[in-house]
Symmetry: C2
């Protein structure tokens, strides 16, 4: 240790580091757990969070650190890597530190971006389990979600085929579902663009009900949002029952409870409520709970993970998906408001590479060689691109949470480039640290660990961007102007009609606002980099997550189902059939 | 013990019995395992079969007992129940006994038939884990299978959108896939009739490739067939690579290997290779491995499960799906031929209820009250319906395996009815036992256990129905005449064309024949009961499982995707949110 990440691939580092992965017995001793608080699951045990919370009820919470980023290149700027590096750095300083990350989706893992296990010496292990299903939470969500759709379409078929009297013999009352007004689609946890829009129910009388439908990626399921914000199994059950699956012909919601499938859905999800325990390559505890994609989902690790982490650790590190306009905005205005937990510090991850892109560098395309501008010194691009980082610093400051900028150093960055970024950040009166956790692990993250620990001691006052009694369209306007830097919001006729309905119906008064927007730009257009000005945010539709209690305005043309590219990661993934070890994950 | 199954529901019995479920430590001691041969997974550990086989290599195999049945009512005639009862009975006699059953599919569990955990005092525990995903094997198969379809459709999109030169920059050579000749569909493990036939790829240039497609139930996936017959991880990897996903425009197969997705599919399935360990309510070990549905799949527990079971136990019990014409025929001619293992005894399960149905009793409809004929004495129906059992006895005798008929007694059967069946079986010179395991557990299965143990000592000579060098159409003819009692086979033009091609291509010379046919009749028509005569078997198509090395002739109108009825089980399933316990499974 540390490993040489310029020579070894991540999965090779993981394989080596996993030789000293803590065992269940190690964890019980190190975390001071009771034996029955840890549920053995191969190499990745689950934690019985209720038992732990009950035992530690009176212990004061630790420091709460969130990690976010500037607008990333499509390759990602190492937010997970920095979260893990920070945990390793605080660990090297002898702190009782841990965190909670999100389970990766099979979409990116099998496609171009790869898994979300960090990288180099700031890596999560066991990497194979983490990357390929872990303890099954996403599978459970997929099954529970699709069971609602099975129940919906079968019910529509039976209501079409049988009269009221026959339905009554099965104890069924006609729900009279409108096939043109179905809120939910199906889910699958791959980037299956071919299933984005489908016609289903083709055939004869018993081949279902013919209608348009769609598949989204599983991690964007409302059930994942519910898991991220649920407080316990009872809350999960209640919220699942309240999910709107479709509408009847009068426009009334048809819920999972109406379809009598909410109990069974909860049964499929019963194990998801407990976080799974993994580790950094340096052995610090990292829980994994809930899912990614803050562009099309809440994209936060769970409130349960934060609650239990703040009890178990003196420093609890979590991350919010993608950039500060997306993941952090939801952390700030949705997750923290719901949990009531007060974060101390938000770490803003920036890379020289991304700053150059914002400064006008050539397009970065996943799976293709990176242009020369990104691997040779170019101070002009860095300076011009700083505007995006500056904007994100201002966003974090609006929340009252103390920002710390982390320059996530890459081995091709020059000393002068890094020095320039540091100077520019310091000019905004913001703490900054350079970190080399990818190259050196915790040893490389000591400056970051020290600056973050210092910032944690600073008093701060968390305040949401908008009060909950602000009407939906005003809230979206506030987010668009204050966070994205837009001049205002344009509503499609459909979105406006829905917004008016939600604003006037008291049922939606306590619903959170969860934006759906690309993470590749502050705007809705992924090609616009830096800090675009003179633009308005177009909202085309609003999704209703009535179990999660979210209204989700959708900006631009973003889809809930990503696509698989022409050079996907699965081409290089294989199994050593002698040892069972998986190669090619990155 | 025993519990009163006339008062308690199965999930209530399970809840009580699970209080004494063996722990991992118990299993290690009782089965004489090395610590690392057991992989902890909550309450259902996996067994590292390679390690166990290596250690026990030189131990002679135990006795090998298979359980099959007469043509069942749609409610099932208690094959799993009898398998578990037999294990309990042999256990009560002090034998070292265990078995391997199949993981239930979410389709029946959420629909009308319920889970496959047996029932009453012959029940598999932990019942919730077993019924709802267990250790994730079916989820892993679903993901691996669908990843092949993601790869297929994305490749078709990219080949349409890019010219050869652009494809070459990604290292891709045009596969030129024929969208009208796609062998595989998607899978989901519910009874989702609305997804039987879909049109996918609707939208614009990056929304996939538009084509017809279909969803089958996951347990019918070729990957499940491969898991059932694979010898180890290397064999699994090789077979996955050979799976035919589609054909190119010249009719050549496009395999998972061609799509460069076989390694990643194996990675998703790497954990499925090890059986999961559960128990009877009386504490005997029962492995669970591979899947159900011998009508539309192989429907056998795995060869791996049998191999390791025959080493660990002196009596190893397994079951084959549905009736002897379907599950047993595949056990006999496919599974045993592939494994080379020689079964000692096949237990043929019969119920008074099913015999009455075959004798002309009224239709049995799942989810509806059962007609009076089935709950009051009716010797005439029993005697008339005996023909089906007699036929199945003859089928088993053709295999050379020693048959034992088990009259699976139900508490509404009269003494005279049971006596009549016993007499009729004895007249065929076949061993017979009455078993009351449902009501009394192992105590109720002592006669069955004794008769089976005795039959195991009888020398027998297993012989397949047909030699492997018999051409496909002759084989199907032999199965239709000798097993189903048909007068011959009618091939559709499509099926005949395919059959001729397979017969003349040496590539298919060592392929097994896996029939797809309803289990509700000896014929292809589920409404025809008893032993129909004067009929011919229509074959409409032939599926190619080139990884499993199966050709699957499809009889009649059977679909690989069952439908969800109007009164499905999920309506009654729920979770106690205080304890996490699931109610309503049956």
């Amino acid at each position: 240790m540390p490993f040489d990440p310029t020579k070894l691939k991540d999965w090779q580092i993981a394989e080596e580091a996993e030789k000293s992965l803590p065992t269940n017995e190690d964890w019980i001793e190190r975390l001071g757990l009771e034996k029955d608080e840890l549920i053995p699951m191969g190499r990745t045990p689950k934690l019985d969070f209720i038992k732990i919370m009950d035992r530690m009820e009176n212990k004061p919470d630790g420091k709460f650190i969130e990690v976010t980023a500037i607008t990333p290149t499509p390759l990602g700027e190492g937010k997970s890597t920095t979260s893990l590096g920070l945990i390793e750095g605080l660990g090297k300083r002898g702190k009782n530190v841990g965190g909670c990350l999100r389970q990766p989706s099979g979409g990116p893992t099998m496609n171009i971006k790869g898994t979300a296990a960090g990288g180099g010496n700031a890596l999560l292990i066991p990497m194979t389990e983490f990357s390929l299903g872990l303890t099954g939470d996403i599978n459970d969500i997929t099954n529970a979600h699709n069971l609602a759709m099975v129940a919906l379409n079968a019910r529509m078929q039976h209501e079409r085929n049988y009269d009221d009297e026959t339905l009554a013999t099965r104890g069924l009352k006609r729900l009279d579902i409108d096939p043109t007004n179905v809120e939910m689609g199906w889910v699958i946890d791959f980037a299956a663009q071919g299933l984005r829009n489908i016609i289903m129910g083709i055939g004869a009388q018993r081949d279902g009900y013919m209608m348009q439908s769609r598949f989204a990626i599983s991690v964007s399921s409302e059930l994942m949002a519910i898991l991220a914000v649920a407080t316990d199994l009872a809350d999960l059950r209640k919220r699942i029952g309240e999910m709107t699956v479709a509408y009847d012909k009068k426009g009334n919601p048809v819920t999972a409870e109406d379809l009598e499938v909410a109990g069974a859905m909860t049964a499929w999800m019963r194990n998801t409520i407990n976080p799974t325990l993994c580790a950094t390559v340096e052995g610090q505890p990292v829980m994994v709970h809930a899912g990614p994609f803050a562009n099309i989902a809440i994209g936060q690790s769970s409130i349960i993970g934060d609650r239990v982490g703040l009890k178990m650790f003196d420093y609890h590190v979590t991350e919010s998906g993608f950039a500060a306009d997306i993941g952090f905005e939801k952390f700030w205005n949705v997750k923290c408001r719901l949990s009531g937990l007060k974060p101390n510090v938000s770490v803003l991850v920036a890379t020289v590479r991304a700053l150059k892109m914002h400064g006008g560098g050539p397009k970065v395309v996943p799976g293709r060689p990176i242009p020369e501008e990104y691997t040779t010194q170019n101070l002009e691009l860095v300076e011009k691109g700083f505007c995006n980082l500056k904007h994100m610093i201002e966003v974090v400051k609006k929340s009252g949470i103390t920002p710390v900028v982390c320059i996530n150093s890459f081995y091709t960055d020059t000393e002068e480039e890094v020095k320039l970024v540091r100077k520019l950040v310091e000019e905004t009166n913001t703490r900054v640290a350079v970190s080399e956790h990818w190259l050196k692990g915790g040893e490389g993250a000591l400056e970051l660990a020290d600056v973050v620990a210092e910032a944690c001691e600073e008093p701060n006052e968390y305040k949401p961007l908008y009060p909950l009694d602000m009407p939906l369209r005003e809230r979206v306007d506030a987010i668009a102007r204050e966070v994205y830097g837009a001049d205002g919001v344009d509503w499609s006729p459909l979105a406006e009609e829905k917004a008016k309905r939600f604003e006037s119906d008291p049922k939606f008064a306590d619903f959170q606002t969860m934006m759906v927007k690309t993470h590749l730009s502050l705007t809705h257009d992924p090609t616009l980099k830096g800090v675009p000005t003179g633009w308005r945010l177009p909202i085309r539709d609003i999704l209703v997550y009535s179990g999660a209690k979210f209204l989700c305005p959708m900006a631009g043309t973003i889809s809930l189902m990503p696509g698989t590219g022409s050079d996907p990661a699965y081409r290089r993934i294989d199994v050593d059939t002698k040892t069972g070890k998986v190669s090619g994950l990155f």
